[in-house]
């Protein structure tokens, strides 16, 4: 298999549990122990109340498609073989939104507000990306 050419996430100490969760096939989110809100992306403090008392919880992996676009010309040549592909924002059931791709369907099947579920894309032996597919 050819080497993976696309940008790879470089996990930090703070975000490591999120990426480890994906590799294990589950979506883990931070949750603030003060204001009880879920947090994405992983941070060293809560963006809602600045508390540093954060824990990790398993999330449903369910959500709806907040918005999407179909990329028909790749800016990074590594994505050229993928066009047209769906670049999207998913509204997670737990509250936060994430940037992602919608996969396992054609761009024509995609609609705003449609229900989606997590798809764990093992792009390298060490790295899994959080993508979504129609639910």
């Amino acid at each position: 298999m050819a080497e993976y050419q696309k940008p790879l996430p470089a996990p930090s100490e703070v975000s490591r549990p999120f990426w480890d969760g994906l590799t294990a096939g589950e979506l883990r989110l931070q949750k603030c122990e003060e204001c009880r809100r879920h947090i994405f992306y992983p941070r060293s403090l809560c963006p809602h109340c600045l508390s540093q008392r954060l824990g990790w919880v398993k999330a449903s992996g369910r959500g709806t498609l907040y918005s999407y676009t179909v990329v028909r010309r790749a800016m990074n040549p590594a994505f050229q073989t993928d066009v047209p592909y769906v670049f999207a924002i998913v509204q997670l059931q737990e509250g936060p939104r994430v940037t992602t791709n919608v996969v396992n369907c054609t761009p024509e099947d995609v609609q705003v507000d449609m229900p989606v579920k997590a798809f764990y894309d093992n792009i390298t032996p060490e790295m899994t990306l959080l993508k979504f597919e129609p639910a």
Binding site: A10, Y41, Y68, M75, F87, V98
Partner: protein, 390 residues
């Protein structure tokens, strides 16, 4: 605190945008427009005691004010980089006025632009090792198309929430092209464009077509913002800062509370309140237009129409220089070109030209009040200004 009449723009300069750098350097462009702006304001080099710079997008370095100060041989008492993306130029205007009001300086030179083209703009940027910016980790792996895909996400959601149509969006590009065809300085001067042409251009990032997306190019612009005393002594008609407001959200759309309402809903009311004027008093709307959707959302959030009514507003009004709602009479960046952050400055320079009555064929009659908006990032950084003549 008010900045109403704290300072005035008395000099402008703007290089005609060109498709590629053709051997020009960014610093060389800045020096050239700086010199012209000083002359335009009727000042001398020794009068310049403030310097604000909008950094180039492609060429990254530190200490830009020192680079330009050395090149021009000026020694400002007040200098800074204003790093608000496309909102930098509008942001410089009120920062200059605030510095003047505080007594820090009297004549602030504001400069931006760059030597760039489509190829260098879209070329992969040099990677800095260990750079832990969240978008590198949580967006880049999914293949965004620069900021194009961000604005496409906004347009798609707006269409979904409010029934906006591609035809309504395309009319922004077509009307602005009519304006550009009356502006010999515009990159697309002499190339008329219809709504159907826009809709027939390739869909690059749904729902945005190629001709709804701005074109990076080479160019530069400068403003001279001076104290009220200097303004009254200048040979030019002073264009007064009457109102200003600024607000911002973030870098990644996924982090915004909503993507269909921008911080203009905060910055514009501040600017109008400071100026003490109504939307209906405005003679010229000169607002950032990296994409057609940017203009639509600006019209809504600045209060020229109700939220969600932007599409209908665009449909029902003639946005050309001859029309009932003159908007981006220089062609907007979509038709004038986007020479880095000088694209954002073009909305200020055009407002100044119109207010001073030197816009030639496209002059709006009795133009006394202009609304200017600068937008940076993905509808993130917003600076709204109300400018006027006596």
């Amino acid at each position: 605190m008010t900045l109403k009449r704290a300072a005035a723009i008395t000099g402008i300069a703007e290089m005609r945008p060109q498709k590629s750098a053709d051997g020009l350097s960014t610093l060389g462009i800045w020096a050239d427009v700086s010199r012209q702006a000083i002359l335009d304001a009727g000042l001398e080099r020794k009068d310049i005691d403030g310097l604000l710079i909008g950094p180039p997008i492609v060429e990254m370095t530190a200490m830009w004010p020192a680079h330009l100060g050395e090149y021009l041989g000026i020694h400002p008492a007040y200098q800074n980089v204003v790093d608000l993306g496309g909102a930098s130029a509008a942001g410089m205007v009120w920062r200059a006025a605030a510095a003047i009001q505080a007594g820090l300086c009297n004549a602030v030179l504001c400069v931006t632009g760059e030597a760039s083209d489509v190829e260098t703009f879209y070329a992969p940027r040099a990677r800095r090792p260990n750079q832990q910016l969240p978008y590198r980790e949580f967006e880049a792996p999914y293949g965004p198309m620069g900021v194009n895909s961000g604005y496409a996400l906004i347009a798609r959601r707006h269409i979904h929430e409010y029934g906006t149509t591609s035809r309504q969006l395309a009319k922004v590009a077509a009307d602005q092209r009519t304006n550009a065809c009356a502006n010999p300085e515009a990159l697309f001067y002499g190339s008329p464009l219809t709504i159907d042409d826009v809709l027939a251009s390739p869909l690059v990032v749904d729902p945005l077509h190629l001709l709804e997306i701005v074109r990076p190019c080479t160019g530069g612009a400068a403003l001279l913002i001076v104290s009220p005393e200097m303004a009254r002594r200048s040979g030019q008609t002073p264009v007064w800062l009457l109102g200003a407001g600024e607000s911002s959200t973030g870098m990644m759309l996924s982090q915004y509370e909503t993507i269909t309402t921008s911080p203009i809903a905060v910055s514009a009311p501040k600017a109008f309140a400071m100026a003490g004027v109504a939307r209906s008093d405005i003679d010229l709307i000169s607002v950032y237009d990296c994409y057609t959707i940017t203009v639509l959302i600006t019209l809504e959030d600045a209060g020229f129409c109700a939220k969600g009514e932007g599409g209908r507003f665009i449909e029902e009004h003639d946005l050309t220089y001859r029309g009932d709602v003159p908007l981006n009479t220089h062609g907007g960046q979509l038709s004038f070109g986007q020479p880095g952050l000088a694209g954002g400055m073009s909305h200020v320079t055009e407002a100044v030209r119109q207010l001073q009555g030197r816009s030639g064929e496209r002059q709006v009659r009795n133009c006394e009040l202009a609304f200017v908006n600068g937008n940076g990032g993905i509808m993130s950084e917003q600076v709204s200004l109300v400018l006027g003549v006596e």
